[in-house]
Amino acid sequence: MVEVKGWRNGLLVTLPDTLELDDLLAAIRERLEQGRNLELWRGSVATIDFGARIVLPDALDSIIGVLKDGYGILPTAIVSEIPETRAAADRLTLTIYDVLPTVVMPPVGQAPEPEKAPQLGQGNALYIPHTVRSGQRILHNGAVIVNGDVNPGSEVIAAGDIVVLGTLRGVAHAGANGDESSRIFARSLRPPQLRIASLYARAPESDGKTAATKGAECARVQSGAIDIIPW
């Protein structure tokens, strides 16, 4: 659900990825109305964490409109790895974070500790509850799980493993930060190209009609090359 908490010099608003836009706007209003800090929050700046939500410019305008015009909260930054969302935020010259910077709430009178760089490949898994369609690009600093297909013309790039519960026909790049122990799993593995760390493998030339799927497979690095085994 919608979460609002104090963060740095303002508020952190975390929005669920699942709600439709209208329901989301209603949920934001509901959350703010029930807060006892409503008047305290007025005039605050806020960072919005969109999770995996795809937010187009119009939707972003509506969300900001509710916060700004309704409650005097001014969003100045967002957290998102979704290209569409980032593009929409960029248009409004908001600050854009890939992942939520380490939350630092320094105790009074004590200098804040320097932020530690997040450990690559150790991030939480990103769960994509739908098919990744052509033109969509999923970038995540951790493992990615797609509950659907990855279609031709799309890309999934992960610092860790990639798990596709449907058919993988787009480009998948696991271990994108150089981790050769990363693997790519798919219920049906039919990509034009696979990448793990700095290695890549191409699909064998076919007559266009790809052979019937052999079942779930896993691609991993074995003695310096990408190798595919049943999963």
């Binding site: 836009l21 569409e84 098919t131 369609r133 052509s134 033109g135 279609n151 031709p152």
Partner: protein, 270 residues
Amino acid sequence: MANARVIVITSGKGGVGKTTTTANIGMALAALDQRVALVDADIGLRNLDLALGLENRIVYDIVDVVEGRAEVRKALIKDKRNQNLAFLPAAQTRDKSAVSPEQMVKVLDDIKAEGYNFILIDCPAGIEQGFKNATAGADEAIVVTNPEMSSVRDADRIIGLLESQELRGAKLIVNRIRMKMVEQGEMLGVEDVQEILGTGVLLLGVVPDDETIITSTNSGEPASMSETSRAGQAYRNIARRLLGEDVPFLQLADEKQGGIFAKIKKLFGG
């Protein structure tokens, strides 16, 4: 009054038959006693007027409506062949930036107030401003694709964009299919297209490649008006499916070859 179904007809890729599809479904729905308004959202590249044979009756266009020079009722052209059908042309001398999504929604609301059952929007190719305008006021979408990879990939992109605009449940029309080529493995079949786009995308119709479409587009008589056109029959079926009828898919395989295509018939679900 305001319960018209607003359906955008889109594809991403150009040249797959959006305009022909819009004209034909519109004409077929009108023939089924539905009041239908067709809106050409392809501002700057006006085409739907030709497919409908109404180019010489254009006085006002959608930009005139948006900019207040004409009311929507005045700008809508009534088709003389079927009074149920009306048409709002695009402007040919302007470009996509002449209309904003908000203005599009307003125009559609005005058309709804005229009491139509269906408003079909012919979307321009591409995913930029014109696409945003055309989809802004729609509550349903029909995605047209041809059975070839580049068109399917663009359709997939469009479905993704529609979903991100909260326009879910897009319906699919596979246009220009040649059964002989599918059978010989030279063309994607309907099943191949569906496999890529996923089961969430409902198949609304399959339209065969048909030379009568070219002559009908040139003459401004949509093929769905012709009893003998195979494509016309497919469009009439699509119109009936839009009205909720359960119409079996055309048996496209039995053209000249006789009946050895049991496998292909299976593709169309009988």
